[in-house]
Symmetry: D2
């Protein structure tokens, strides 16, 4: 039985971690921590957990959490994680960090997240937790940097083609649309129902902090530069990301060859589902699941790839537990299918 | 040309006031005030008003606003209005207050709004701005207390029957459902998209502050006590209120007689639309309009009345302008149909 | 391993049955049937089932389905079930019927469902599948009539109090609100997105076919008549029912006593969760779960009970599998928590 | 007073035409026609029009409609319009057709709309009703082909830059997202609430019938070929289109120059609103209005243009009435602002 602590349990990804870990027969949740005014049973805060978990959600006490955990999940804002992760690592615990703190090289991090990285030592050891790229490294990792939600959808959508894209020097245009839980649980007028419902908008066009994460990871996979233009949009739905990815066909393999490459690369992946050529997946195909569904259509000189995930599952908490399963040698889909 | 100032212009009702007043050919909006960090053109704050209004939204300067207004609309939180209204009344301006500050007797106000009433002098002169009850008094009013959104839907749903209800000593059960703009534009987790979307809940069952307003106004119309049990619910829609009203049939007139009473009382009302017997109105029938639509069905020993309004129009800003039209002897529907 | 067939697999409740049965480690789904133009893998019809089930969805062949099933779930329209259930019963199979065909006495059925009952023999043996009332009978049943969604929420909300209500001769007023999946998967203008989104409406006030089901079952539990007035409403959400139930307090036990009665009756129920006195549950507390959450508030001479369920789970497919677990002596919550 | 008939009044665009024409003080609606089972007052079909219009919605009688109209609006499916328009033109009436029947050359029409064009005579005289391009021609037109919703948003988003794009031989990638009313009022499972709500999907990637319309009109404006790749998506909102348009910056003017070009081209346009450089408009800025709002950001070697409209107004019925105003020499914004 793996003893797991969830830190930052009151956010959307924290809540989802609890949900997913409760489904995993090899895990016992041993602590729930968050910044709370009053320490209350988690099921008082979120009644949907009534009769499912009886733990009290406490303010973080690192020693206490370390003493009863084998692994901790950090569902914290960036810059906070890198202050806390080292303590748990020092105590010999495994850490899966859902923030951006261990995903990028220190210099890139500083540019995009607005501050110096204060734990470069562990940053060097951290493994980027995308099983479809790093499964072997994840097995032995003590610190996993769980990927961002947008990057998960985009990287998986491009992975089989990324070497060809890089060689051909093609630019990628990504038009992503995310549900509102992607922004976290926050008191904020722009995230209020009256502003999001019946509305739709682009934001941070070509300047979102997930763009360098995509480029960095894709470049690693390609063995060469990959230029991604990325414009995210806010959907009036709770959960789900759909990324529409555009690449000029010229310079890439024939359509049929592309389909085959995807089929071959993802053949044994438990959480990737390819659509037949020309069929595109929808958000409802993956909402509430850990799957990434991918469809490809080639027409009019353009390769159009649509990749969908649930931002809280494959885009965050589901993938975190998939990583945990790998770290502990368990069936990768335990509690996730 | 009536010169009008809108105070509290950045909230949902303030924004809607601007919209409605712009449609009124007899009105010139002369000032927009609100608590703002920076004084910006209103259309910078709300781009939907681009090319429609060029005023800057300023922090409130009572003297300045008074100097260029004939009438001011106060779209302010309760307790704030009663500090500001007296200044404008002293300056000889007409005031329509959309808060609860001038709707209730001082003692009832204190019980439900948690503080002493500090302007009892004007409170006594205020006219409750429901044209279907007080049209004549509104004509001569200097201070109109614009009704609450829930009370508007409930009072209009009951008005033709309220004397009979009171005489028969029957209790009324009201189950109301409101869109999320009813709670105002606020940074608040419970009002965030992630909490309201795909959700539905009751709140303040039998203890909402609009309940005494209903009872007070209905008692006035009935010439006797009327007991209302009121449970509001939060709908995952932007705008609209639907109130389902239940009364035991025993002790009331026959079904046909009831329909006739409604037809007779509302015959000349420009903003009341009755459905044929047994047909119930829907939110979409009134969203974006100033109408109150009412349907009645009598079955199984129960009178069921459904009353729908747009909470921002007939429930707030539309009704406020209807009142203004009456105060200035204009066609009551000017700019509203 | 229980071999289960799902008939009517392409509707919302059929799809949900597949989901829930896949989670149950003691079940193997052996067939999926529905009226289909073309027999295709179920995961082609509903890609969310990709990599989860490989069965083809076929047009119903009773012999074939009977030959490879221990139990069949009928997720069919009323009047269709009573033509098919007898065949499976004759073949010695267990049947859980999610339609209304076996829930009511034949005479009541005829009044409300517009036709003679053609299988009165099995009707007499059918057990109404509400575990909180009929657990013992369900254990030995061959034919379970799975309750309606609205009745489940209302009956569970009233059960502990129903004898007192009946004795005191009180009427119950039920104002229910349901998500759109409650109406089934249908090509219909009134169910189209453009008509349901941002809308809300009452329908069939005091004449919905679920009303006699509530009265019949509650009368059985009370040992005396119970009069229910029932008005359903359509919510712009996918799943969830919230019923607000009103009863005059006069004639019933004191508030505290009522809370105790609920606590005592539901103490050991795995899928009922009571809120503390005065706290009311929300749809999001139960969406995606098999729980029924209940809150009670007593104020102003009225008992207000709020009962919430997921209409597709506790209101249909979840409860069906709960019944199956009981019929086979399994842990009642297997695959459901 | 212009006498106007609306044909196809029961669809979403027909209903919206009625709404907009009622706001126009120079218009009298003289007939409403549609395929109806029973000829009923329009306000019985759509109660939101109660007390606003008393006309009966009748099955189309061309002679009768022609006899009492100066102009007719055809809100009909494609292929139907081209059978009806000639009759009205022959009778000397002006026609605004909201279908696709008169927007494209006959050969292109045949390729994309699956049938021979049966009214090529009038097709040659038809004027494409985008005032920002064809204002002068619209003034004298008898037959106006009202633009498609997607093309309106895309063409207006590209117009000031289209000559440069064409000269530079650049391809345009358009990722559009539309609310569900864009598909019309239809009984259809894919358009039902249960399938659209909380979902999002791409459809007809690079094969939507609006793509040739964009290319045809843009080529006309550019005086040379323009290649548009177009992928539409379905948003879970009622109304609104947001098009995100991507073009490689290389080969185009400097960013500042681009902003200036837009400012200059659209300076006097009553229904175009430009955002400051780098600011992008949202759907809620234009929902319920006839405006097209446009924002431009240049970054990372890419020009990103976001263009938003209300698909039922600037994308259909609002633009139709704007065209009518032009045809009759009225203020272009009459009844529209």
């Amino acid at each position: 039985m793996i003893k797991a602590g969830v830190i930052g349990a009151t956010g959307y990804t924290g809540e989802e971690l609890v949900e997913v870990l409760l489904n995993n027969p090899e895990v016992e949740i041993t602590s729930l921590s968050a910044l709370v005014d009053k320490e209350l049973p988690f099921s008082d805060l979120y009644p949907r957990f009534g009769k499912k978990i009886s733990l009290v959600c406490k303010n973080l006490n690192i020693d206490e959490v370390a003493s009863n955990s084998d692994i901790v999940f950090l569902a914290l804002p960036h810059t906070v994680s890198m202050k806390i992760a080292p303590e748990f690592l020092k105590a010999g615990k495994k850490v899966i960090d859902l923030s951006a703190d261990y995903r990028l090289p220190a210099d890139t991090y500083q540019v995009w997240y607005g501050g110096e990285h204060t734990d470069t030592e562990n940053l060097q050891k951290a493994v980027y937790g995308l099983p479809e790229i790093n499964r072997e490294k994840i097995k032995d990792a003590d610190l996993v940097a769980n990927p961002g939600c947008y990057p998960t959808s985009v990287i998986l959508g491009l992975l089989p083609l990324v070497k060809d894209i890089s060689k051909a020097g093609l630019e990628v245009i990504v038009d992503s649309k995310s549900g509102a839980t992607g922004a976290g649980r926050k008191a904020s007028i722009p995230l209020s129902f009256g502003e999001v419902d019946e509305n739709f908008k682009a934001y941070k066009a070509n300047e979102h902090q997930h763009m360098p994460e995509m480029e960095h990871v894709l470049a690693g996979a390609a063995g060469g530069d990959v230029r991604v233009n990325f414009t995210p949009h806010l959907l009036p739905i709770r959960r789900g990301i759909l990324s529409t990815i555009y690449i000029q066909h010229k310079g890439l393999p024939e359509a049929e060859k592309i389909y085959k490459m995807y089929g071959s690369v993802y053949k044994n992946e438990p959480f990737i589902r390819l659509r037949p050529s020309g069929v595109l997946p929808e958000v409802q195909d993956v909402a509430g699941t850990n799957f990434c569904d991918i469809g490809i259509t080639v027409a009019g000189g353009l390769v159009v790839i649509v990749s969908v995930i649930d931002n809280l599952l494959k885009g965050a908490s589901g993938q975190a537990v998939q990583n945990m399963n790998i770290m502990y040698g368990l069936d990768e889909g335990l509690g996730l299918i």
